[in-house]
């Protein structure tokens, strides 16, 4: 089950997250919903990311594919180049660079979709309704821990705590 609590500011929500983690909740079980980014202390709610790594990988993969493709295309129908090499690194470097950058851009965008969970549609957790300027915390907990968790959230400054139903 999920509990959701409304908070007035970032300090209160940071305190609530700290308290929940002290009670054994994992960062993956806690979510903060807001209409603008909430600045939390470093390391409080870590969201590990491989976006940079994948972007570099995307650039390397597409760059390499471009090199192989151009090499194949130039040899597939060898034009008369007057003794110059059929495949030239310098004259085609721009193409490889741009395709590598294209790889980095698409990889970044795909990783954004993946890491933000926007691609997940089925079985997603219920989302609390957000009031203008409000900050809401959602925590996934077992039914037997609900009462203690609710009390903990109120103690750290929650204005209200409600139960959220699972999406079928």
């Amino acid at each position: 089950m999920f509990l959701t609590a409304e908070f007035g500011d970032a300090q209160a929500i940071a305190a609530a997250i700290g308290a929940l983690k002290a009670r054994g909740f994992e960062a993956g079980e806690i979510d903060v919903f807001s209409s603008e980014p909430v600045d939390l202390p470093d390391g409080l709610l870590e969201r590990p990311s491989r976006m940079s790594l994948v972007a570099v990988g995307g650039a390397a993969c597409l760059g390499l594919l471009a090199i192989l493709f151009v090499h194949y295309a130039q040899h597939d129908y060898p034009l008369v180049t007057g003794g110059m090499p059929l495949f030239s690194w310098w004259a085609t470097g721009v193409v490889f660079y741009e395709i590598a950058m294209f790889g980095a851009i698409t990889a970044t965008f795909l990783m954004f979709l993946l890491e933000s969970g926007l691609l997940k549609r089925n079985g997603s957790a219920p989302t609390p309704v957000l009031a203008e300027g409000g900050i809401r915390l959602r925590v996934s907990c077992a039914p037997e821990r609900a009462a203690a968790t609710t009390e903990c959230l109120y103690q750290t400054g929650a204005a209200s705590v409600r139960k959220l139903e699972n999406v079928p």
Binding site: S35, V94, V95, M101, A104, T106, E115, S116, L118
Partner: protein
């Protein structure tokens, strides 16, 4: 000019959402006129396709005319958004928030317009897809060594990257709009917001992606205009074969990009009543940036011309002479006045710096930078190394119409964009203000 930022977030949403509904008489007239001029341009292009490229003024030896001038000009303007916005984002400039989306939209529209010109310029534009990498009926692949292929890959990458860079920070605003709008608008916003809920995972991913995109897009933006410069510099033509052409073009592109951004900001500030958000400080800061780029442009221009003059090579001196004291001299000195003298006088004195003078300087720079592109291309082509081949170019009504219509297209795209999406990133403005 006021130099303090007054933070206003109370009525931000209502102010920015107001232009999205209804259309004033002025708006409808502007759309109608821009559409009319744009349609005229399309008709002229159709006429050129039917009658052939001969209806344009390009003749031997000046095989590049207005179309290539426009191509370089619009690709330069496209540096307004992505590059400026990326630099401001990476340096954490807090005043950037009302500026970035307006700038990013310029990039996308300018690129769409600029990328059309090589196709308009083709003798047989209907087979432009031969540039795509697949073998033709004779099993020939495109020549990847050709700068035309460099342009294709560079501009395509930049356009896709710029669209993503414009789209990413729009997602939270689209989700917000989707909750409140109904009908087709509501459906459109909800579709584009792809299920955004505002969770911290999404904010983390968005901030990370935007930072990463800013870095990548900077590298692409610089490369794009360098590649455009190399279209010229790789030819062993007088006054083109220069090693500084890459940075010279990039500096010129940023220069004209800032000018375009200032003009757009001045118009939307007035038309959408955004005086509380697009404040004099934004014009002050961008005006200083414009002055810096003006000085840099002047440095490059002097360096480029002085070395040609000092070298005294006959081929280069012919082009140089025609440019500074021959047929092209009025354009050259007007360019110097617009790009350096006027901005320097108006922007270097803080008593003269105001929203009006900054905008005036920006308009002058746009004129000057178009002339600069003209003066880079035409004098060189008019004086090839073979002296007997000297010629002169004069544009026809078809080229002038198509050129004018691209400005109308820019206005039209922008008018539609402002009607569909908030022109300031609301969440980003509020977030930076709260910080």
């Amino acid at each position: 000019m006021e130099t303090a930022i007054e933070i206003r977030t109370d009525s931000l949403r209502s102010t920015l959402w107001r232009p999205l509904s209804g259309a004033s008489r002025g708006y409808r007239w502007a759309v109608f006129l821009a559409f009319l001029l744009g349609a005229w341009g399309l008709a002229c292009w159709g006429y050129q396709i039917v009658r052939g490229i001969g209806v344009a003024g390009i003749r031997r030896p000046t095989m590049w005319g207005f179309y290539l001038v426009d191509f370089v000009f619009w690709i330069g303007i496209s540096h307004a958004g992505t590059l400026i916005s990326a630099v401001l984002r990476l340096t954490g400039a807090g005043w950037r928030t009302p500026v970035t989306r307006a700038a990013e939209a310029i990039t996308v529209f300018a690129l769409m317009i600029g990328a059309l010109f090589p196709i308009i310029h083709l003798g047989r534009p209907l087979i432009f897809y031969w540039l795509f990498p697949y073998p033709n009926s004779r099993l020939l692949w495109p020549n990847f060594r050709s700068p035309l292929l460099w342009d294709l890959t560079a501009i395509s990458t930049y356009l896709i990257g710029s669209v993503i860079y414009l789209y990413l920070p729009m997602i939270p605003d689209l989700a917000d709009l989707g909750q409140h709008a109904s009908g087709w608008r509501g459906r459109l916003y909800r579709l584009l917001s792809i299920g955004w809920t505002g969770s911290d995972r999404q904010w983390h991913a968005l901030e990370r992606a935007m930072k990463q995109m800013a870095g990548t897009i900077l590298a692409v933006a610089v490369s794009v205009h360098t590649v455009v410069a190399w279209d010229f510099a790789m030819a062993v033509a007088p006054m083109w074969h220069s090693s500084i052409f890459g940075p010279y073009f990039v500096a010129g592109a940023i220069f004209s990009g800032i000018a375009a951004l200032l003009v757009v900001l001045a118009i939307i500030r007035k038309a959408l009543h955004l005086e509380a958000y697009v404040q004099p400080i934004h014009f002050e800061n961008l005006g200083k940036l414009l002055l810096l780029m003006s000085l840099l442009w002047f440095y490059f221009t002097v360096g480029e011309n002085l070395t040609a003059w000092y070298g005294n090579s006959p081929a280069e001196m012919t082009v140089f002479g025609d440019r500074v004291r021959g047929r092209f001299a009025p354009y050259f000195w007007l360019m110097v006045f617009c790009n350096f003298v006027l901005p320097f006088v108006l922007l270097s004195n803080r008593w003269l710096r105001s929203v009006r003078t900054v905008t005036l300087s920006a308009v002058a720079v746009l004129i000057g930078m178009w002339l600069e592109r003209y003066l880079i291309i035409l004098p060189t082509l008019s004086h090839p190394r073979l002296a007997a081949a000297t010629g002169f170019y004069s544009p026809t009504w078809v080229e002038i119409s198509i050129t004018a219509s691209t400005f109308a297209a820019m206005v039209l795209f922008y008018l539609i964009f402002c009607k569909l999406f908030p022109i300031i990133a609301i969440w980003e403005y509020k977030h930076v203000s709260h910080r």
